[in-house]
């Protein structure tokens, strides 16, 4: 079973490897893992709070080549996308773009989970911040 050129390219030259400041309120972090194979994937997005558009995306993946390629491709897809579009990304899109072999489909599922988890983290930070700012005057007058 040969891997596609695209998988090998993403594996040899992964895009957007690195970290964003996880304490930044505009950064969402998703860390997911696959206990069956021991893979761990961290994916982060930085969102422009005015427009809701993802301006930057980074990843770090500990796992097989397909897991690395899946998360590398995911970060490329995310940049320029709105948060609402991002949560719609389905793993099959990654499977198709990379021509992942059937036994590696779970790697794309992991990437989808990482995206959803990162966006959920960003949204949670936003609502927490809103609630905190609503709560502030009450605290001040108390």
């Amino acid at each position: 079973m040969a891997y596609s050129d695209k998988i090998i390219d993403h594996y040899n030259h992964p895009r957007n490897v690195g970290s964003l400041d996880k304490n930044d309120p505009n950064v969402g972090t998703g860390i997911v893992g696959a206990p069956e194979c021991g893979d761990v994937m961290k994916l982060q997005v930085r969102v422009n709070p005015e427009t809701g558009v993802i301006e930057d995306a980074k990843f770090k993946t500990f796992g097989c080549g397909s897991a690395i390629a899946s998360s590398s491709l995911a970060t490329e897809m995310l940049k320029g996308m709105s948060v609402d579009e991002a949560v719609q990304i389905k793993n099959m899109r990654i499977v198709e773009e990379l021509s992942l072999p059937p036994i590696k489909i779970h790697c794309s599922v992991l990437a989808e989970d990482a995206i959803k988890s990162a966006i959920a983290d960003y949204k949670k930070k936003q609502t927490d911040a809103e609630q905190a700012s609503v709560g502030e005057p009450a605290v001040a007058t108390a």
Partner: protein
């Protein structure tokens, strides 16, 4: 005798018509070996109750006894159907033995029997461990791109890390086996909760195994 796990539907020998113990499907009257029904679990097959805290010595004894009983060599002069059955039975026996002998595989097998399926829900992911693994992975990358004394220092730190991870993995293995008798005694209402704890323990252990393997491989190859 293989009757500890409750009554199965009775099976009849296709050759002489007597009742055959359904876990073995070996006719005691005419010694014909019949095809094994799918519903027989490894526990039943190895004459064990459906429990996790098992008697390993008994398991081994059953394995040797059944190995002789089903050995394909003894069926060479029998009809094809029986030769096939003997071969099949020996393969099942080996799978049953290796599955039940290993505590983790035994627990996972029982989970499957109980319909407690592995799910990839994110709440199963231990976040603290994920972060730790990513940090270790970064240390490993740092080692790979370092040279000289710095490289030696990083290698030492990683080796110490591996020792500690192995200890933790051994502790998880012990915890899993401690849960076995608790599981076996628990009623229906608490069983799911205990199976979940086992699942988490095995997951953590799997993650540790992978990162240890990866660090050791890198340190060995030096790349």
């Amino acid at each position: 005798m293989p009757t500890q796990t409750g009554a199965q539907a009775q099976s009849l020998c296709q050759s002489c018509g007597v009742v055959v113990p359904s876990e073995l499907m070996l006719c005691e009257s005419c010694e014909r070996l019949l095809p094994l029904p799918d519903r027989v679990s490894y526990f039943e097959f190895m004459e064990l109750p459906l429990k996790l805290d098992i008697d390993l010595a008994a398991l081994e004894k059953t394995f040797y006894r059944l190995s002789r009983l089903f050995h394909p060599d003894f069926y060479q002069n029998r009809p094809n159907s029986e030769q096939r059955a003997a071969l099949e039975r020996s393969a099942t026996l080996n799978k049953a033995y290796t599955t039940l002998k290993d505590p983790t595989r035994r627990a996972e097998y029982l989970m499957k029997l109980r319909g407690f399926e592995q799910s990839t829900e994110k709440n199963r992911v231990p976040q603290d461990l994920m972060v730790e693994i990513l940090e270790l992975q970064e240390q490993l990358e740092e080692f790979q791109s370092s040279e000289g004394g710095e490289r030696e220092r990083l290698a030492q730190a990683l080796r110490a890390g591996v020792c500690e991870l192995k200890e933790r993995r051994a502790e998880l293995g012990k915890r899993l086996e401690d849960l076995f008798p608790i599981h076996d005694r628990a009623g229906e209402d608490r069983r799911a909760e205990i199976l979940l704890e086992m699942r988490e323990t095995i997951d953590r252990s799997n993650y540790l195994f992978r990162i240890v393997e990866n660090i050791e491989k890198t340190l060995e190859s030096g790349r």
